[in-house]
């Protein structure tokens, strides 16, 4: 296990270095460079731009800036927002809890519903339920998330007035119930795509597993069908499902961004879209890195979980 862990950690570190290089290169390849916004402003003179460049260290060679930025990441200095001048770390960290609240709720909900649908349609293979969920899942995967979110707001917030149209808390505070009411629509919208994916994958894994000899053996021994399903079949499906959880992360993070912009959910996604409008490179870069970090970390955790559940993975995955 030790060697496996070290190996996987090294791989993740390499990925993160790659991610930071690509992100940094993109930022500097952008037309006009990181100060493009200022050159459009007629009241800002060439001297001003030169002064800002020196102030932010943008006059130095790109590789020097890169290493300074990396050093900053480790010492907690993530630079300052071009827009407002607050420390980037604070700006971004303020938004992380809201995003995790949204992603975590959607992930848990979709896992429960998706796996249940997948198991049911595998057991009742070929039934009306199986066909209906297959078509429904395909349509759900094809819906533009932002449009579905807009419709949900129109119907449940603006027309019926049952739920709030956006944000994660009422302005006058409010307790747990208030937070829950704000969660319902965005989580439902974000979870829809995930439910579709979980159900499709669970179904195909379960079909494969239900044909295995040891399931037949368990049935032949006279075990209750529900026991065979949960203790034997579902347990075997755990490994591919954990892998899928890891692989699904970019989709989850990307979906959270879209959902946040539609519901004005004060998380990293909304911050990203706002920062795009003001060309706030340090903030954009930081969010890009946090997003990629979540994905890399998620895959690492998935691999470790699999190694714990299935000892064979340690050998094949190293």
């Amino acid at each position: 296990m030790g060697r496996f862990l070290v190996n996987r950690l090294a791989q993740s570190a390499v990925l993160l270095v790659g991610v930071s290089v690509i992100g940094f290169a993109l930022m500097h390849l952008a037309p006009g460079g990181p100060l493009a916004m200022y050159t459009l402003n007629p009241t800002v003179t060439a001297q001003d731009i030169q002064r800002i460049k020196v102030q932010f260290g943008l006059d130095q060679p790109v590789w020097v800036q890169y290493f300074k930025w990396v050093a900053g990441v480790f010492t907690g200095n993530w630079g300052y927002s071009f827009f407002g001048g607050q420390p980037v770390r604070e700006v971004v960290f303020d938004r992380i809890p809201a995003t995790f609240e949204l992603m975590g709720s959607a992930l848990c909900l979709s896992l429960l519903i998706g796996v249940a649908i997948g198991v049911l349609s595998a057991v009742k293979r070929g039934s009306l339920l199986d066909h209906a969920t297959a078509v429904a899942a395909m349509v759900a995967l094809s819906l533009p998330t932002f449009w579905f979110g807009l419709l949900a707001i129109f119907i449940f917030a603006q027309t019926l007035g049952w739920l709030p149209a956006g944000g994660n808390r009422s302005t006058d505070g409010g307790g747990f119930l208030d937070a829950l009411r704000h969660l319902i629509l965005p989580v439902a919208v974000l979870a829809l795509v995930l439910v579709a994916q979980w159900s499709r994958y669970t179904r195909s894994y379960m079909l494969e597993i239900l044909n295995q000899d040891y399931i037949r053996t368990a049935r032949a021994k006279g075990l209750r069908p529900s026991r065979v399903l949960v203790n034997h079949a579902l347990r075997a499906a755990l490994v591919p499902l954990i892998t899928l959880g890891g692989l699904q992360l970019p989709l989850l993070v990307g979906g959270a961004l879209v959902t946040e912009t539609v519901f004005s959910w004060p998380g990293m996604g909304l911050l990203f879209v706002n920062a795009l409008g003001s060309r706030d490179y340090p903030v954009l870069m930081a969010i890009l890195m946090v997003g990629a970090f979540v994905v890399v970390l998620g895959n690492l955790i998935a691999d470790i979980l699999i190694a714990l559940v299935d000892p064979r993975a340690k050998i094949t995955h190293v």
Partner: protein, 293 residues
């Protein structure tokens, strides 16, 4: 990640006749094909069959509801005909989908094929790049680039293609790793065929099936991405219509005319669902081994 990634051994391609019969047996895929052909035709012939000019402003008839006289699907905040604009927007959205797919296929195939065929440090460098790119949630990357580039049909297609090629590269990589040691490839190498020729003439025809499936699903995804960045204002710019930017004002106009929010979204959903069903049908038809039970 689709189940395509699971590297199955490339099997001898079944006779094409059987593949097309299997495809046409997949009813939803056929329905998808019909819908796509209809959408493409109505978009392509929009200048001749559309009832109005897409930029004809008619302030007297703003916010006409669907099925009203003269406006089958209603009119928008400037009195422009929604059906007409949907047809013209289809030109843009479908072209972006197909063009982005072409970029995805070319880049993905090139990366996957060279990495797998050449091996060594090329393999390591290209596949590490693929892994790294996969860490970025693609929407973030796309928006980051889109915000700095002057939007046009070509630039948007290029950007979507360049942020979505990774999965296809992995599919191609997996397939070619296996094919590389096949006898007919070794034979081509022995008669001295150059690498690019072996890849294009010997290997490409044998990995066509998974590429075709991935390309179809990629088109669906590209249409979704275009609609989202246009909705946020970083894609196709008004007054030119795209399905995405027709929704930009939907939120503020909802209380006046909810239909303006419904129609473009339906068009997107219809196109994307159809491409996804076609991809599903192709997968079943081209590779019986991959078929989901």
């Amino acid at each position: 990640m689709s189940d395509l990634v699971v590297g199955t051994l490339p099997v001898a391609a079944p006779p094409r006749r059987h593949a097309s019969r299997r495809f046409f047996r997949h009813r939803l895929a056929v329905l998808g094909l019909v819908v796509i052909v209809a959408l493409a035709l109505s978009a392509a012939f929009a200048p001749w069959i559309a009832p109005y000019n897409p930029d004809d402003v008619d302030i007297a008839n703003r916010y006409a509801p669907p099925l009203s006289l003269g406006h089958l699907l209603g009119s928008d905040d400037l009195g422009r005909d929604v059906l007409t604009r949907l047809m013209y927007a289809g030109q843009i959205s479908l072209s972006v989908g197909v063009a982005a797919m072409a970029v995805t296929v070319i880049v993905g195939f090139a990366v996957g094929a060279f990495a797998a065929y050449l091996g060594g440090w090329v393999d390591v460098a290209l596949m590490r790049l693929t892994d790294t790119m996969l860490c970025f949630p693609s929407v973030f990357l796309l928006l980051f680039v889109a915000a700095f580039v002057t939007p046009s049909l070509a630039s948007i297609s290029l950007m979507i293609g360049l942020t979505c090629w990774m999965e296809l590269a992995r599919v191609v990589y997996g397939q070619i790793r296996v094919l590389k040691s096949a006898d007919f490839v070794a034979a081509a190498r022995m008669v001295g065929a150059p690498v690019w020729r072996i890849i294009l003439r010997q290997i490409l025809p044998n990995v066509m099936a998974p590429i075709l499936v991935a390309a179809t699903l990629n088109t669906a995804n590209a249409i979704l991405l275009e609609s989202y960045i246009s909705f946020l204002g970083y894609g196709i710019q008004p007054p030119q219509a795209s399905w995405g930017n027709m929704l930009t004002n939907a939120q503020s106009d909802f209380l006046v005319d909810p239909w303006l929010a419904v129609m473009p979204g339906l068009a997107i959903t219809l196109a994307v669902t159809s491409f996804n069903f076609i991809g599903d049908g192709l997968r079943d038809a081209l590779d019986p081994k991959m078929q989901q039970q």
